[in-house]
Symmetry: C2
Amino acid sequence: MPTTSTTDVVLREMGLRDGLQSIATFMPTAAKCAWISAEAAAGVREIEVTSFVPPKLLPQFADAEAVVAHALTVPGLTVAALIPNLRGAERGLALGVHKLNYVLSVSETHNMSNVRRSTQESVDDFRRIVAAVRAAPNRPRLCAGLATSFGCTFEGAIDEDRVRRIAVELAEAGADELALADTVGYGDPAAVRRLFAAVKRDVGDLPVGAHFHDTRGVGVANVMAALEVGVRAFDASLAGLGGCPFAPGATGNIVMEDTAFLCETLGYDTGVDIAALAKIRAILAENLPGTQLLGNVAKSGLPKHFVPARLRARREAAE
Amino acid sequence: MPTTSTTDVVLREMGLRDGLQSIATFMPTAAKCAWISAEAAAGVREIEVTSFVPPKLLPQFADAEAVVAHALTVPGLTVAALIPNLRGAERGLALGVHKLNYVLSVSETHNMSNVRRSTQESVDDFRRIVAAVRAAPNRPRLCAGLATSFGCTFEGAIDEDRVRRIAVELAEAGADELALADTVGYGDPAAVRRLFAAVKRDVGDLPVGAHFHDTRGVGVANVMAALEVGVRAFDASLAGLGGCPFAPGATGNIVMEDTAFLCETLGYDTGVDIAALAKIRAILAENLPGTQLLGNVAKSGLPKHFVPARLRARREAAE
């Protein structure tokens, strides 16, 4: 198991799962492995490396076992994988991943499209996963993600009390952490502040991370709002790769490089080398021709006078 | 002169000047006029419609007189134009524009590249412009913009005390309002909060607007930071059109549509109809082939449950 992070903010790479799942081109396993190694070397501490969905549903993840095996050799990296159900959890347990990310949708319609069952059935499934995880010899961390927490393209607004109720249910069921996901990019800074503050109050010490998409251009503003109410873990993807096959109009995750830049300029140490991160985009450009690589700081470069938060803190301490 | 705006936040369209100045393709005058009319109809109250630079330097603005003449016929619109010097001011005065936007660079190197004189010479020029404006029968408003207030690609960091000193000098010289411009997109929310708060303290009641570029992906976060310290006027451009011919790597202005979305979700009435705004992009697509149209909310559409701030306030008042 990797050592505990000492950064202020943990940025979690989602591109290998959330990014690739909406891209038809199969990314060669060697390229995925090179991407993982390079991002870890650039200081990214946690990567969702694959999804344990049946390969016949998403052929992109047919190499899940090989990718996980490689990722587990990368020093200091927390290796996470998405699990849609108990069967996925069992695959993850067998491989020894460090963290299982279970996701259900707060929106009934979205959950039905995604995993063909009701949200309550997905909560019940989570309880079975908790039991399986607890019985495992090398118990991984278990994160419960609440998709469509900020609205749903099918249902529109999602009742915030419902999000809170399900969050508490998942916490009480035994999640090690939660993630509130703005799956379709309906979130705005006001809603982000309100909902994260409420859920954090409800679940006490349990970490609550954020999963934002930049669908309506306010992704980094949502990050800033979440930081203000104490959120310290963010999902993002290199070059903003991503989307959701079941959410029409949903575009990519927030951009890892720009999110790191925002956090660092706000004084939060991410441990990430932004310039190194920008270079890794070449792996995507080479292996995913035709895919638009988003993100601005990678294209324009860091400001001439940019100083990472960690270095700034050290300088200030020395003064 | 148009009626006073009753919105919480004024969004000022910069695309016709800051956007077009870096685009080689001449946009037909009729298209510019259609763009102005459509944006005013979508609720945009103020548009910088052209630049009074010599047409031989920027042929894009050879039709400045015709564009201004059209804009002045649009009801309720504040017609602004950029002036680089006294000669530009005289052209604006002769035409009867409502507002003259003078710009100088806090960075000596940038000012030299831009207008081939020192910053102090530009301040002195501003005094002559104030005198000319005050002597005019139908006195327009005069805004003084401080380019590179958040850093410069040539010089790197810009001393914040220098920005404040020049801001005070321009205020005392007779500016009706100021604009702090992040010309090259070096700004971050922490710097934005700090500098706007300081300058606003320094200049008292004088309005201080913000001009941001999204060069490093944190444009909307900068808007949010500026709103927090009381800034209520923002420059933006439709589809993020823009750049600076003298600032290498600088990309477009912040996106008008996404900025409006951000402000509205935060509860600030902009008076802008975002869906109507999104449709105007067709004019750009048709007349500027090959130009990338940025911005996310125009592509993905508004959230199903979106309610403009003004309507929300009315509903809450009725409850």
